[in-house]
């Protein structure tokens, strides 16, 4: 196989700053054409922080950031992600210092979760929101999170946590 052909058979992904070159195929460690991005992240790369709730694009648990936008990784085929920059929950804290992202810290301080299963997805949507708008209104926070299924009902604490982490100087209560 020529180098060019090999390249066609390879998916290049940057996940949390780390580069991966994954062969397309059905061998162990390869990406099958039917593999979703969630599957690749969890099963191939071992990044199990991204959760599968419904696996049909309805609950938001699998949300990751791809090329700056929050996406449902269970509805995204890995073979369509060549060249993509992906950030998952594992990439949210400061890799060098281990310091939590302000959103994560605010979730800790506000106990903005109960069972925590939906938390990684919610955090990734919230991160994406504040990348666009560092000081979102409560309505924008609600809109940004409207696709996330949280059954314990931590919605009120989550909104407060995002608000607290993103309030402008002097806006804190």
């Amino acid at each position: 196989m020529s180098t060019q052909e090999q390249e066609k058979q390879t998916i290049h992904l940057t996940v949390n700053g780390k580069e991966y070159a994954l062969c397309i195929g059905d061998t162990v460690g390869a990406v099958a054409p039917s593999d979703t991005l969630t599957h690749t992240l969890r099963e191939t790369l071992g990044l199990t922080g991204t959760k599968i709730g419904c696996d049909q694009g309805s609950c938001g648990s699998c949300t990751v950031i791809m090329n700056g936008k929050p996406i449902l990784s269970c509805m995204t085929l890995t073979v369509e992600c060549d060249g993509a920059q992906v950030t998952t929950i594992e990439g949210l804290e400061d890799a060098a210092t281990g310091e939590l992202h302000p959103l994560q810290q605010s979730f800790v301080d506000n106990s903005a979760f109960q069972c925590g299963f939906c938390t990684p997805g919610i955090l990734m949507s919230a991160k994406s929101l504040i990348d666009e708008d560092p000081h979102p209104s409560v309505d924008s926070i609600k809109d940004a999170l409207s696709g996330h299924f949280c059954r314990c009902i931590s919605h009120y604490e989550v909104i407060e946590a995002v608000r607290e982490a993103t309030a402008k100087e002097g806006e804190h209560e």
């Binding site: 594992e90 069972c115 609600k142 809109d143 996330h148 314990c152």
Partner: protein
Amino acid sequence: MSKELRFIGKETPRKDARDIVTGKAQYLDDVKLPGMLYGKVKRSPHAHANITRIDGSKAKALTGVRAVLTHNDIPRWEWGLPKHMPVLDNKVRFVGDAVALVAADTPDIAEEALELIDVEYEPLPAVYDVEAAMTIDAPPLYSQYANNTYPNEAPVYEPHLLQHLRLGDVEKGFEEADFIIEDTCGYEIFPNPLPPEPPGVIATWETPGCLTIYTPSQSIAFFRFIGIPFIDMADMRAISTQCGGSYGTKNANLTPVGYAALLAKNTGKPVKVYYTKDEHFHSYSMRLGSRVKAKVGMKKDGTVSAISGLWMVNTGSGSESGPFQIAVGLGEVQLNLRCANWDLAGKLVCTNRSPSGIVRGYGGQELESSILPIIGRAMEKADINPIDFFKKNSVKPGDGYFWREGNWWTYRGVNFNTAIDKGAEAFGWKEKWQGWGKPTAVNGTKRVGVGVGVHSNADVGEDSSEATIKLTPDGRAVLYCCVSEAGLGQRSSLCKMVAEVLDMPLERVDMSPPDTHLNPFEFGLMGSRGTYAVGSAVIAAAEDARQKLLEIAALKLDVTAEQLETKNGKVYIIGRPDKKVPWHRILGLYRTITGKGRFEPDYSLCNFLMSFVEVEVDTETGQVSLTHVVNATDVGQIIAPKVLEGQLHGAFGSAGLDTALFEESVLDEASGRILNGNMVDYKWRTFTDLPEFTNVILETPIPSHRFKAVGVGEIATSPGPSAVLMAVYNAIGTRITSYPVTADKILNALGKR
């Protein structure tokens, strides 16, 4: 206690918070064992049928398939209350019932193999309605249960179980009544509590005599306790993973365990069975169905003089804990309906719907959501404000009630009327209540109404707990108690109690992993028992460890233990805190101290929650929106403020209040299939749909344990449904007597259809 509390009631991060926000928390599907296989289940397309022929040979021949099991290949393990649900049978009892099992190297191969299993069915008549099930002229679901009615037998571990509430003389009570209402009301929409994480289990036979399971159950000691008889008396070691939501549903459901354990036994490998969301909707247990035919006698002053009737409980195709749910429901109903004359009988019936299981609200939510609308009609006759009614009829110190095991208990807790008053004030009840069937406001086509619901549970002191605490010379404490983390923050709250008793930094208190082989018996996070029942055992263990430490220190320091105090891993003579001796100087480096604690069941205390709701009904579209909620409770002492707030906000989730607004499993009776069994068609509350919500939490010291607290989390879901029904009636002036109040029902009630 005069001493100021250091951790209890203070905001401290949950111990697992960092793991949750960084994605490190290990849920079931994040666990992989070496050599693990994947189990899948072939499901029935029929609601009721005999399997006349089944052949798995083609499936067995597929590469990567390690086992194919049908009912012909496995022992007859049964579970449930009463014991009746087999792992596989020669018949199916609901659409989605198990027909055959496959274990394979990958989930995809297992799925493929399911398609290759040939099955022939002989369909049987199916029945879904609780009353029809008792009279249908067709073979019963279980040949041993004539008329599809379960026998009234209690399990060995609770030989007396309250199944028929009898007190006083109802005939006399009805004679004394000024008003009598007879009505039927149902709460039978079989909603799915639907935790975000689907159910599942990993099973592995580490020795032929011991099955190890990894489970998201939050009650693994109970799981083991009921699991051992299920697996033919082999030993069972249960280890909890982080639980991605349970709301009771993952507590003790042995069905997936049966699949995984038999596949693991057959293949000699660990097997994971992890449901898809589709299976979660169509093949897992639901909330019970409940229908009450009741006669209620009431006096003009709001005294309930008699209640009689039949409570029909629809378990669907299987009963995980129906008799217990009846027992607890009948116990709970007395706590806010003080009445001297009762004759209310529970009846447990199976139908061809999905099986039922443990769900937050556990019988009580089902009973109260059915009976309170009938009581409301009597209140209306008596023209009594529901707030006044519940203040009169909620349990007061000195009142008595029968609890689930049939004994009579005298309540020794606090009077909850202050909580009712404070809640009413926060909600503005006085201004909003206009009388029965009268709207709070009419704004054009929109009509506003208010309602109230209530719930109490004496399970705060339910069942037994044991705990041990190990003190190590380096100034650390480890709590050994079989408690899992299911989202309630319970593990962290228990560590706070230990840190408080031993007056040491919270970060130096840790907890053993939830594993039945490491920890003493602890019944599990059922109901709201974490704070009082589990907490009491933990506190006792910490106090015991502290006492042992001080006794050893007393010998070294030549004083009595009573003269000593410990703080931050050091011991000092009271009055001389400058002379501190670290634990290692007392214990040496080669010793630990173990304190033990145990809690025995106590049903003389209960919790309380009242939910005030305001709804706005659009009379053009029939749409009902929830605009304002106030929850009022008295917990004695808050342990973890934000965690408690979260639990109470949980009112909407897990098949709670929203079952009155939009949640239901819609069944197609022609096929027996649930029509809205996916996350688009099954409605749930989103971030853009949040009403104003206030929790009013009082802290009147409750005589439980040294921190004067009781738990309340479980009951957050229970008062809501009947409150919504009441509010809608008040908004539109026409009574809707079934759940949920869909736009169709509203328009019908308004004569617009």
